[in-house]
């Protein structure tokens, strides 16, 4: 179906090729998972399949890529619309029309299908993806998971032979991500479509992937079945780490698999989690946030103590962000009290408020507006009234080795987050709120973020992280607060909240049961393991 023959690709103005001499052959009906760090070339490799690379991105491509016998050399991407369907990371950015039905029909209109066929396929696709009740809704009003399913539906209506998905679940909460992936698994089974998918949180896809391709970033690729490829891959999901730790061979690919073998594990006492906390830094009570008739946060109480990491979870739109903004003082707050060091941040000027409570918003790059990293740091020092060089010093501690002359846009996602964090920390707040910092981060970058957070709490700061990523929460958080419909549903130590709920259980908790959350805990409890 797809043939890549000695493909090399170099972006314009770069000396090093992103891909060098890649030869792949992918058959019909396969589900192929592409894994690798951010920037390793996964998206580039996927882009070559319908010719967006190099026709759209520019750059130099050697070798040939052909789909169903047609090479991308001779034709632009639009001539592949009937063969290859492409779904990106942010579904909203790719929508052309504004209602669900029109969006599903758009691709077919371009191909010139007859009205009867279009009508039939739209109905079929609505049912296939379970979005029939959304048909007349405006796309902007849908939830993230619904939008992503519409985006998948909109390329399926042209009946492509190949479906290319570039991190389709990176912006979704765990439940929505499960929805989308379950839909994809069904498609592969029912329609026999070839699916190529890049995904950071591979643990969800591995159980039904036929094949895995690791893009390590050196130009080549490692190709094989998931157990083969995962055996030596440096980045791997927790289940694989556990398998390696226990010396299981072949590696378990699904939770069921691992659970069966886990009975042989001789584990010591479960680890004690950090429960010691310092003085109270922030006390909020009865916080209410509403947007017109819609109540986003309903009388929520919150306390933060020094040295504590609080994770805030809950589906999209459950009020996490509104609560963070309200606590910081910049967002609207219609009721309740917030006290930090005896003051209410809402009544203070924004400069004074950020010296009490710092925040990194969801789109962290909104805070950056200068041409170089050095200029951003200088501006931050001036804005915070800190001594010159403070921000740069913080940045070097959080993410060493960033070139001061580089443009903030050219940094990797993780480096940019570190820069924004440094800018916000330069005002020396004792409380830092992070809204979805793990979005778009790969395993390596998440580990780096976890280290940053640990070093901040060691100084006695309190950190709040709103995120969907359970594995990340299990590694860093002392306390977890789950929100739904603007109310706090559960609030307690990480082990209790994550271990006790099927929706929020980590892979390790699913395998080993409640007290165990991370591979690290298992490692420390294994008697035979010598570190």
């Amino acid at each position: 179906m797809i043939e890549l023959d000695h493909v090399s690709f170099t972006y314009h103005g770069r000396a090093e090729p992103v891909l060098s001499d890649v030869t792949l052959s992918i058959g019909e009906g396969e589900l192929v998972l592409f894994a690798g760090r951010t920037g390793a070339g996964k998206s580039t490799l996927l882009g070559t399949i319908n010719g967006l690379v190099p026709h759209f991105t520019g750059g130099h491509l050697e070798g040939t890529v052909s789909v169903d016998g047609v090479t991308t050399r001779s034709r632009p991407p639009r001539e592949f619309a009937h063969l290859v369907g492409v779904v990106g990371q942010d579904p909203l950015a790719g929508f052309v029309t504004d209602t669900v039905e029109d969006e599903l029909a758009y691709g077919m209109e371009q191909l010139g299908l007859s009205p009867q066929v279009m009508r039939r396929r739209v109905e079929e696709t609505l049912d296939l993806l379970g979005i029939a009740e959304l048909r007349r809704r405006a796309l902007r009003t849908l939830s993230g998971g619904q939008q992503q399913r519409v985006a998948i539906g909109s390329v399926l209506t042209t009946h492509p032979k190949v479906l290319v998905l570039d991190e389709p679940t990176s912006a979704l909460d765990p439940t929505a991500a499960e929805e989308v992936l379950a839909t994809l698994a069904r498609l592969v089974g029912d329609l026999g479509t070839t699916v190529l998918m890049a995904e950071h949180r591979m643990e969800r896809v591995i159980p039904f992937a036929d094949r895995m391709i690791h893009v390590p970033g050196t130009g080549g690729v490692i190709d094989g079945t998931p157990p083969e490829v995962l055996k030596d891959m440096p980045i791997a999901p927790p289940i694989v780490h556990l398998g390696r730790l226990a010396g299981w061979d072949p590696l378990p690919m699904s939770v069921r698999d691992a659970r069966r073998r886990a009975s042989s594990l001789a584990l010591g006492a479960p680890p004690a989690r950090n429960t010691s906390v310092g003085e109270e830094l922030l006390a909020a009570s009865g916080v209410v946030v509403r947007y017109g008739p819609k109540v986003a946060v309903r009388e929520v109480d919150l306390t933060l103590r020094a040295g504590e990491v609080l994770a805030m979870m809950g589906r999209n739109g459950s009020g996490k962000s509104s609560l963070l903004w309200a606590v910081q003082g910049s967002g609207p707050r219609q009721g309740g009290k917030v006290t930090v060091e005896g003051k209410d941040p809402k009544t203070l000027s924004s400069a004074a408020a950020r010296a009490l409570v710092g925040m990194v918003p969801q789109t962290a790059s909104d805070l950056l507006y200068l041409q170089t990293v050095a200029a951003e740091c200088e501006a931050a020092d001036a804005e915070s009234g800190a001594e010159p060089g403070k921000c740069r010093e913080l940045l070097d501690r959080l993410a060493p080795g960033i070139d001061p002359a580089s443009h903030p846009r050219d940094l990797s996602e993780g480096q940019r987050l570190a820069l924004v964090l440094a800018v916000q920390l330069s005002a020396a707040p004792r409380i830092m709120l992070l809204d979805e910092p793990t979005r778009g981060l790969d395993y390596t970058a998440k580990a780096a973020l976890a280290r940053m957070i640990a070093s901040l709490t060691a100084e006695g700061k309190a950190i709040v992280v709103a995120t969907h990523d359970v594995e990340f929460v299990a590694t860093i958080a002392d306390r977890v607060l789950v929100m739904a419909e603007g109310e706090v549903v559960s609030d307690g130590p990480t082990g209790e909240v994550l271990g006790g709920s099927p929706a929020f259980a980590t892979q390790i908790a699913k395998i080993l049961g409640e007290p165990w959350l991370t591979v690290e805990e298992v490692r420390s409890a294994l008697p035979q393991e010598v570190p």
Partner: protein
Amino acid sequence: MTSYFLPRDLHPAAWWVWALGLAVAATRTTNPWLLLTIVAVAGYVVVARRGEAPWALAFRLYLYLGAFIVAIRVFFRVVFGGAEGSTILLRLPEIPLPEWAAGIRLFGDVSAESLLGGLYDGMRLATMVICLGAANALANPKRLLKAMPPALYEVGTAVIVALSVFPQLAESVLRVRRARRLRGGSGKKKVKALHTILIPVLEDALSRSLQLAASMDSRGYGRAGLVEARARLITGTLMIAGLIGVCVGVYATLDGSTPRYLAAPVLSAGVVVGLIGFWSAGKRVQRTRYRPDRWHPPEIVVAVSGIAVAAVLFTTSEVNPMNMNPSLIGLSWPSLSWLPLLGVLIGVLPAFLTPAPEPPYAALEEEARA
């Protein structure tokens, strides 16, 4: 008959024809009663047949705009001389102007005739604006763009995409402004603050549009298909010849000294040739439309009722450029004759003889829940 009244959205062009009919009718009269009737007819139909979409709720803005136009017209009559006529209402001191401004009067006497003239004139313009507002409220602008001829499809899509950018831009401006406050907010200088908001917003807009372009490209936007070089050449020649014909024709029509055979004949020939080129360009576009709006009897009723209003006023009323307001020669109540009034009332028929618009999604959901 039941299928005739099944709720559905009418073809947007039908509403436009109807509204333009009313607007044309308004140009034929300055009779305030007739104008008010036209506004009432338009307003009644809008209230009866508009949907719940944002553009449908904007009709009120057009009413305000109309009122503003009338007020401005009357105000200008007071400021720039309004002494035609004998019934002086107000004596204001006239401000003498220099020689070169002869012909312009500032203040002075204000007569009732001149004020009423301004009022009627303003009402006529306001009525036309309100008619256009009615069309805007009743017809989904995006569906109208979709109903464009195939040769203009690409332009239509571009306009639709551009329209959807504005709410996005507004959204990102709000988001970035909020984020700015997190960084110590208000800069010392306004210009600098603007720049700190503008750069992230533009960056955002640019990366979004690149993503959209990539998505459209991979979904087949602008597929050329296989077009023979010969067909392309013929289409191009027809279009260019038609355009030249139209240019020459328009020039000749407006310039009295050019020979007459270059005027109307060349103009109409140019239009015909251009239309043929347009048609052939559209024919080779291999693209289809999903659930296109079609003309059914209700659409015809709507369009015909609009045209009928215009036709009746064309035959019964006439605006004499020398004497715009007969009732103002000797000041009297404007009289109203039955025939034009009944003609204008034809325009209200769509409120009864068309199916209701489809209920919006939210209402459907409520009903299902109940």
